[in-house]
């Protein structure tokens, strides 16, 4: 079946604007992760969803960041009042369950001017 998809592929925004990033996981995958990858660096965990359980938000860097997931489907990551340091690639991954192999989407490249 289809892999993990993310939209938009690229987003350029002005400092102070809000942005919304979308992730469509693989059908049937109960676990979903968001990561941030700054240029030339590793991945930083942001948030984890597992089914209908409360998400693990411990990686969100500030209260400007929030994420939602409807059941076991689409997730959106929202960044309010964007700052230049938010510029990065935002990656989404899903897995069959919390212990499973993670499958990554292609990412959203965010540039805040």
């Amino acid at each position: 079946g289809a892999g993990v998809s993310q939209s938009p592929s690229n987003k350029v925004t002005e400092k102070g604007k809000d942005v919304e990033l979308r992730c469509d996981p693989i059908s049937g995958h109960t676990a979903l992760y968001w990561y941030r990858q700054r240029l030339g660096q590793g991945l930083e965990f942001l948030i984890y969803f597992q089914g209908n359980s409360a998400p693990d938000k411990s990686g969100l860097p500030s209260d400007r960041f929030s994420a939602e997931r409807t059941g076991e489907s689409v997730s959106t990551l929202t960044i309010q009042r964007t700052q230049q340091e938010d510029s990065a690639v935002y990656l989404c991954a899903s897995s069959r369950d919390s212990q499973g192999t993670q499958y990554f989407g292609p990412g959203t490249r965010l540039l805040v001017l």
């Binding site: 676990a31 992760y33 990561y35 660096q41 590793g42 991945l43 930083e44 965990f45 984890y48 597992q50 693990d56 411990s58 990686g59 690639v89 990656l91 991954a93 919390s98 212990q99 499973g100 192999t101 993670q102 499958y103 990554f104 292609p106 990412g107």
Partner: protein
Amino acid sequence: GIQVEQSPPDLILQEGANSTLRCNFSDSVNNLQWFHQNPWGQLINLFYIPSGTKQNGRLSATTVATERYSLLYISSSQTTDSGVYFCAAPTSGTYKYIFGTGTRLKVLA
């Protein structure tokens, strides 16, 4: 939380050579994964390997959980193996995966 360290940070190989990448982690783990990020940024899962040895074609991985390290072996390297290799493990009791800083591999034709 768990610390994940990878070595070497950079590696240049001639096509056909073999290599070993290492991942050390500071805590016991029940889950460890290896990923390859290609030059276009796409991350592909290579192995889910909390312990033991697995092989997939020219790649194999071994995790020695009691000694807190994992090794990724690449044999007969090809230019398409170029990219960054990451290992990742969750902080104990959570599903918050911590990624190492990666090994950047370049395979020359």
